[in-house]
Symmetry: C2
Subunit: 128 residues, 2 copies
């Protein structure tokens, strides 16, 4: 099951880098009939994926804040633009904005912490 989910999520959420901080979805955004949340979940997950392209592998997400600003259009690709707010030794901040037709539809801010410097289990995703 894990392997199957792995493959599916990978391909469903796949992003195509345009620049070091700009990414476009490979697939049209999923928008199931009757489900208000899946599209929102897709936006959050893809903004996290986009930000991970810009963060060293020893940093893991600690907290995330996002706004659903305008409804998405299921017939168009989404562009994610990552802004590097801060790069510290222990913490990294990223802001990600999602656009369709140059219109801002979603924004997230993600805080990453350096798991090598972590003395407790906080945000330790390394055993996954």
């Amino acid at each position: 099951v894990t392997a199957k989910n792995h493959a599916s999520l990978e391909s469903l959420l796949e992003l195509v880098p345009q620049t070091a901080t700009k990414f476009i979805t490979k697939n049209l955004p999923a928008a199931p009939v009757g489900s208000r949340g899946t599209f929102g979940g897709t936006l959050v997950a893809q903004s996290l994926l986009a930000s991970l392209y810009t963060v060293p592998t020893n940093f893991v997400p600690t907290s995330l804040r996002c706004y659903f600003i305008n409804g998405g259009d299921p017939t168009n690709m989404i562009t994610y633009q990552v802004e590097k707010l801060r790069d510290g030794r222990n913490f990294i901040h990223r802001q990600i904005r999602a656009y369709q037709h140059n219109k801002l539809i979603f924004q997230s801010m993600i805080l990453f912490s350096n798991q090598r410097n972590s003395n407790d289990a906080h945000d330790s995703l390394h055993h996954l």
Copy 2:
């Protein structure tokens, strides 16, 4: 493409209600090798789905805040517990906690607004 994504995301993220506010994942959490973010994205998306079970259909997510508290275990199901923080005419607050082995691994707080009372396009996902 949309139809395919629809089916896949639906099935990948599917939750099984245990009570009106408690849900368990149907599949093991996806944890792709080399990808630190997918599992985090899964947690956020499933916490949003769980909360939507407890919110009327005319409310849409406005903002979301979450903490990645402990690393997840890809070999066990995740339980999502929804707490109803507030039910107003225009705003609904939900807190969702995700557990594995009775250990808190993730927490989110989601604010929903009533799109019927909305005069602008804010959070209007109804045309999806």
